[in-house]
């Protein structure tokens, strides 16, 4: 267990939002799946600090999406290259970037069963910048080898794959994905956490620099942006989250 030496001026959620927002720089169209308040907030923050052409699609929100052609539209957009960044997660994520959304044990009669693979087996291949995000960094989630590959981190050469993982952000640290080597590279450890803790909680091998930076704290102006302009916007798709983190409720329509 770690203890923060002094109280930071930001919450854990705000830190993660700012870490992810940095990974979204330069993306024209960021799409966010359901039930993803931290990536969704990051996308909105990225849009707020980016050129006016940057677009955010939050699935199933009223105001933050302009999909109107049924379930296929998002996937068709991804296949056409109309989506620059997306977020995926996994019940298990392994050191090759494989994600498992199906369950633990031997398929099909698994000992733990999750919902299923959703759109991952297309989006992970076709969206250029997929950010893996998992708020629980333990040996249960960060495994050496997933029990079931919903979608692989890397594909053989010769397989059409314009997309794939760019980074893995957890509650402990941020990894960059090395596409050539098919491995994660530790980029930074969040304030209050240690390399020892990361090693302890990670079931896969990863690369790391000799000195590991502490994750950059949220930029003050971005924190202000989040707490003022953006919190109400975030409350539209994620009311419970905005209420918990910023004590704000959605604007009346």
């Amino acid at each position: 267990m770690t203890t923060a030496t002094n109280q930071p001026g930001f919450s854990r959620e705000e830190l993660l939002i700012c870490v992810i927002a940095r990974l979204l720089q330069g993306v024209d169209h960021i799409a966010v799946g359901v039930s993803s308040p931290i990536p969704g907030s990051a996308a909105l923050l990225a849009r707020a600090i980016a050129p006016s052409t940057t677009r955010v699609t939050v699935l199933n929100s009223r105001d933050l999406q302009d999909l109107n052609d049924g379930v296929s539209e998002l996937f068709d957009q991804a296949a056409q290259g109309r989506i620059g960044a997306f977020f995926l997660s996994g019940g298990q994520i392994d050191g090759s970037g494989n994600i498992n959304l199906v369950g633990i044990g031997e398929y099909p009669k698994m000992t733990v069963r999750w919902s299923g693979s959703f759109g991952s087996a297309l989006l992970y291949y076709l969206v250029p910048r997929v950010i893996l995000f998992r708020d629980e960094h333990t040996r249960r989630t960060m495994v050496d080898k997933v029990d079931f590959i919903s979608a692989p981190g890397r594909s053989d050469s010769g397989i059409y794959r314009p997309g794939g993982p760019r980074a893995l952000v957890t509650n402990l640290c941020a990894f960059r994905y090395d596409k050539q080597r098919g491995r994660f590279h530790l980029e930074s450890i969040h304030p209050g956490h240690t390399l020892e803790e990361v090693l302890d909680q990670t079931g896969f091998e990863f690369d790391k620099p000799d000195t590991i930076p502490v994750t950059t704290a949220p930029e003050p102006e971005r924190l202000t942006l989040l707490r003022t302009q953006l919190a109400a916007l975030i409350a539209d798709p994620y009311p419970a989250f905005a209420e918990r983190v910023w004590k704000i409720t959605a604007l009346a329509r």
Partner: protein
């Protein structure tokens, strides 16, 4: 097309049918599902287009399901679908796991009367490993090797869903839930419950026509106010989260589930109206 009650609608679906159903957000025929359960349908092959939740969980718990094909079975913010998870662990249902766009594409192939549709992705996944019906070919349009997955068309025996509106001619208006149109086009028969039936021709209504499924695709319509309850109907009513919480609690155990099934399931507003 004929207008009928929910029991008669449910009676049209024989045991062993392949039934396409929409996502929890786009108009699930929940009350018709209770009628199906009451008539003790068996061995259904459910095709979620492309995910499902409460509806599938109830049908699985009630022993109506042999196979479920989906990209995700979930109660969304209410968590895992308890009867689905229990059935997978017990090995009592056959699960065909896939990914959302594969299911949609396969239904679109059914709609188009073509034997398959190609899709990017899936290669190297265990989804593909376990789907013996999917094929991999070298893209014939590419100059060099370019493997691509082909998905066999899905032609459901039935599409079953709930929509806001039908007209007296049997045309059904679906709003933005476009895949309901695709499902109706693809399926051999389409059974629909609706909030209300209006005395006009939706196909002659310039505004509603583009989102109207023409009557020839529709085998039967039942009127059922709040027919998607406790799931939502877009632009009409939200999910009844209290009821969903009750279900999650009940579904944790076999006996809790049976108790839940045996209760009357009516939307609160209709119960009130009935009492008043």
């Amino acid at each position: 097309m004929s207008t009928t009650d929910l029991d008669a609608l449910a009676a049209r679906i024989p045991d062993g049918s392949r039934v396409a159903i929409p996502t929890s957000r786009h108009g699930v025929a929940m009350q018709a599902t209770h009628a199906l359960i009451n008539r003790r349908v068996r061995d259904l092959h459910l095709v979620a287009v492309p995910t499902a939740g409460l509806q599938v969980d109830l049908l699985i718990g009630a022993g109506c399901v042999k196979t479920v094909e989906s990209a995700g079975i979930t109660l969304d913010e209410h968590g895992q679908a308890p009867r689905f998870v229990a059935a997978v662990k017990a090995g009592t249902i056959n699960v065909l796991d896939t990914t959302c766009p594969a299911l949609i594409s396969a239904i679109q192939a059914g709609e188009k009367g073509i034997p398959f549709m190609p899709m990017r992705g899936l290669l190297g996944s265990d989804l593909l490993t376990h789907r013996r019906d999917y094929r991999v070919i070298d893209n014939p349009m590419a100059s060099s090797g370019d493997p691509i997955v082909l998905l066999p068309a899905i032609v459901p025996d039935f599409a079953l869903f709930h929509a806001p509106l039908a007209d007296c001619h049997g045309n059904v208006w679906i709003g933005k839930a476009r895949e309901l149109m695709t499902m109706a086009h693809a399926a051999r028969q389409t059974l629909v419950s609706v909030e209300e039936i209006i005395d006009t021709n939706l196909l002659h209504d310039e505004l509603r026509s583009p989102a109207t499924i023409p009557a020839p695709y529709i085998s039967a319509v039942s009127v059922c106010e709040q027919g998607a309850w406790p799931l939502p109907l877009p632009d009409r009513y939200a999910a009844d989260n209290d009821e969903l919480c009750r279900y999650v609690l009940a579904g944790k155990t076999d006996s809790g589930f049976i108790d839940y099934l045996n209760k009357q399931h009516k939307p609160p507003s209709l119960s009130i109206a009935a009492t008043a």
